[in-house]
Symmetry: C2
Subunit: 340 residues, 2 copies
C-alpha cells in the first residue's frame, strides 16, 4: 500500500506513458485516488495552479521534473522553468528548483540528474527528520507504544519523501511503536481530515480524525504522549509560524505537560527574522470559514468571518525543533544559530 | 429584526392560522428563515423529532404549548403530553414541561396559562442571567467596549428568551457596549456558524465566525476581553460539562488571562454529582466528524473518527458561574450550595 502513496514521479521516455510528470491528483482525495500523467508543460502548469499538487517540497520536485519535460518535449528548459514558476509565484521552492534544473546545463541528461538529486535530497531530509524525531521521542517518552497528535498535512502528499511531522509518526509506526495518531481535521481547509487521514489509512497506521477543539479533551484524559507539527517559518529565536490552530494545540499541550515538537527542514528557518512578532499573518478568504470547501454553506452570507492562515507559537511552548541535521532544544537562539 | 427571532410561539385560536404552535424551522437555517405552524400534535412531534426545534429550554416551551394544542384539537392533554415527551426521551425539560401543563387542570385556559407561565419564567431567567453577566463584566473589565468570544449556540433558538451565554452578549449589546462577538464555528455540528451567527446577524450585533482552533491566535493578540459559554451540566464543585471544545477554550483563556464565564440556569446544576470526574461523556456518530453535516464527505470512509459530545472544564479554569439568581465565584462548593 505504501508504494501507492506519492506526490510526484518522473516517468522516463522509455517507460509506458513517458515522458511525463506523474501526480496523485490531490483535489480528488480522499474520495478518489486518481493518477494524472502530465505529458506536456501546459498540463503540469494547470495541475500546479489547481493545487492537484501542493506543499512546498512537493511543488519543488514537480517543477524540477517539469523543466526536464519542457526540455524533452519543447526543447526549451528555460521557457518551461519561467512558465512553471509563474503558476504559484509565492511558492519559493517551485521557482528555486526550476531554476536549478534549467541551470544544470543544456544536456537533458544533466537536467534529469539534477531533478533526481533534488527529489532524493528532499526524501533523504524527510527520512532524517523522521529518524531524529522518533529517536528523541524514544529518549523522552520511553520505548513503549506512543500516541501522537498532529495538525494539518505534513506527509508524503505535501513533502514528497515521508514528510516532516507526519514523517516522525511514520517512522514511529515503522519502528512498530505507533499506538495511535490523532489527526486534527484542521479547519477551515481540512487538510488533516482529507489528506493526513488518507495517508495514514493508506499506510495502515492506527489513527482517528478528531475535531480541532477536542485537543484538551484528549490531552486532559492522558491520551496523547506527544504532539508533532510542521512549520511554515521558524524565527531565529524558535518562534514558529504554522497553520492556524497550532498555537491552540501548543497551549493545551503545555498545560497538560505533553511534549510539543516542531518538525521542519533547516530551509524553513528564517535567520533574518529575529522573533515571531516580525512574522506577518496572511488573512484568507472568509468564505473558507463560511463554507465547507466551498461546496456547502455553513454560516449566513451576511456574517463576517475571520480567517487567519497561520498563528505563531512562541518558542517557550515548543519542547524541541527537529530538523534533518538533528534536534534543537532550548535555548533555541544558540541551537538555531548552530544550524546556519 | 430582533422581533423576527424566536424559537417557539403560541398562536391563539382567535389569531390567523391558530390554534397552532409556531416554530422557526432550525433545520433550514441559516440558508432560509422558514416559519412552521404546527396545527396538530403529530406535526409538532415530527418537528421535535427532526430537530426543527432544539435546545432544552426551547423544547420545554414547545412541549408546553403542544399539550395545550392537544387539549384544544383532540380534547386530550394527557395523550399529547405522553406522545410529545416520547419524541426526545432524554430531553428532561420536554417531559417536565409537558407533565406540568397536563397537570394544570382539565380546563384548557388553565393549561394555556401554565404554558405561558413556563415560557415567561424561561425568558425571565434568561434576562436575569444576561443582566447579571453584563454587570459582572462591567465590574471586572470596566465600562468600555467589550470583545466577547462564545462557543456553540446558547441564544434564543436554543433557549427561548435571549439565551444563556449568548444572552450575556445580547445584553452587553443592548447596553451599547458590544464591540465584537467572536463566534466559534463549533465543529462538528457547527451550531456556532449556523445558528449563533444567524442570531447575531439578525440582531445586528457586531460579530465574526472563527474556526474553533483560532482561539489562541485571537487571545494571544489581546482581541478577546472575556469568554462566555453555556453548560450542559454543572457539578457541585463547579466542574462544567459543555459542548466539545469548551475545555480547549478555557485552557487558552487561562493562559492569556481572559475571564471565562459559564452562564446557565440553576436547573443545570446537578447537586448530586460531586465533581466532573463523575460525568460520563457521550461518544457520538463518527460520521459527524467525517462529514460536514452529513452533506459533504471530508475524511476517508476507512478512517476512524473520535467524536466526544462534551468535555468537562474543571472549576479552576472558570472565573465565574452566572445564574438567574446571581453570579457565583470561587470557591464554588460554597457558592453553589447556596443556590440549592
Amino acid at each position: 500500500m505504501a508504494d501507492e502513496l506519492f506526490a510526484v514521479r518522473w516517468v522516463g521516455a522509455d517507460e509506458e506513458g513517458g515522458p511525463a510528470v506523474r501526480l496523485l491528483d490531490q483535489t480528488a482525495l480522499p474520495g478518489r485516488s486518481e493518477v494524472l500523467d502530465c505529458a506536456d508543460v501546459a498540463t503540469l502548469a494547470e495541475a500546479i495552479r489547481s493545487l492537484r499538487v501542493r506543499g512546498a517540497p512537493a511543488l519543488g520536485v514537480a517543477g524540477a521534473y517539469g523543466v526536464v519535460l519542457g526540455a524533452l518535449v519543447d526543447g526549451d528548459a528555460d521557457k518551461a522553468a519561467a512558465f512553471l514558476s509563474a503558476q504559484r509565484p509565492t511558492a519559493v521552492n517551485l521557482s528555486w528548483a526550476c531554476r536549478l534544473v534549467a541551470a544544470a546545463g543544456a544536456d537533458v541528461d544533466a537536467q534529469l540528474a539534477e531533478a533526481r538529486r533534488i527529489d532524493a535530497a528532499n526524501s533523504a531530509a524527510c527520512t532524517a527528520m523522521g529518524r531524529h524525531g522518533a529517536d528523541w521521542l524514544r529518549e523522552r517518552c520511553g520505548g513503549g507504544p506512543l500516541r501522537l497528535q498532529t495538525h494539518c498535512n505534513t506527509g508524503m502528499l505535501a513533502c514528497q519523501g515521508i514528510g516532516t511531522a507526519f514523517g516522525v509518526a511514520h517512522t514511529v509506526h515503522d519502528d512498530g511503536r505507533l499506538a495511535q495518531l490523532w489527526v486534527d481535521e484542521t479547519r477551515p481547509l481540512l487538510q488533516g481530515a482529507r489528506l493526513t487521514a488518507f495517508e495514514a489509512a493508506t499506510l495502515g497506521m492506527p489513527h482517528a480524525v478528531v475535531p480541532d477543539a477536542a485537543a484538551a479533551a484528549l490531552m486532559s484524559a492522558g491520551d496523547v504522549d506527544a504532539v508533532v507539527v510542521g512549520a511554515d517559518r521558524i524565527a531565529a529565536n524558535g518562534d514558529t509560524a504554522n497553520k492556524i490552530g497550532t498555537l491552540t494545540l501548543a497551549v493545551v499541550a503545555a498545560r497538560y505537560g505533553v511534549p510539543f515538537l516542531v518538525v521542519a527542514p533547516v530551509s524553513t528557518i528564517d535567520f533574518a527574522t529575529s522573533t515571531g512578532a516580525d512574522i506577518e499573518i496572511e488573512e484568507r478568504d472568509p468564505d473558507e470559514v463560511r463554507t465547507a470547501l466551498g461546496a456547502l454553506r455553513l454560516a449566513p452570507d451576511s456574517s463576517p468571518a475571520h480567517n487567519p492562515a497561520f498563528d505563531v507559537t512562541p518558542a517557550e511552548l515548543i519542547t524541541a525543533i527537529v530538523t534533518e541535521l538533528g534536534v534543537v532544544e532550548p535555548p533555541y537562539a544558540t541551537g538555531i544559530a548552530g544550524l546556519r
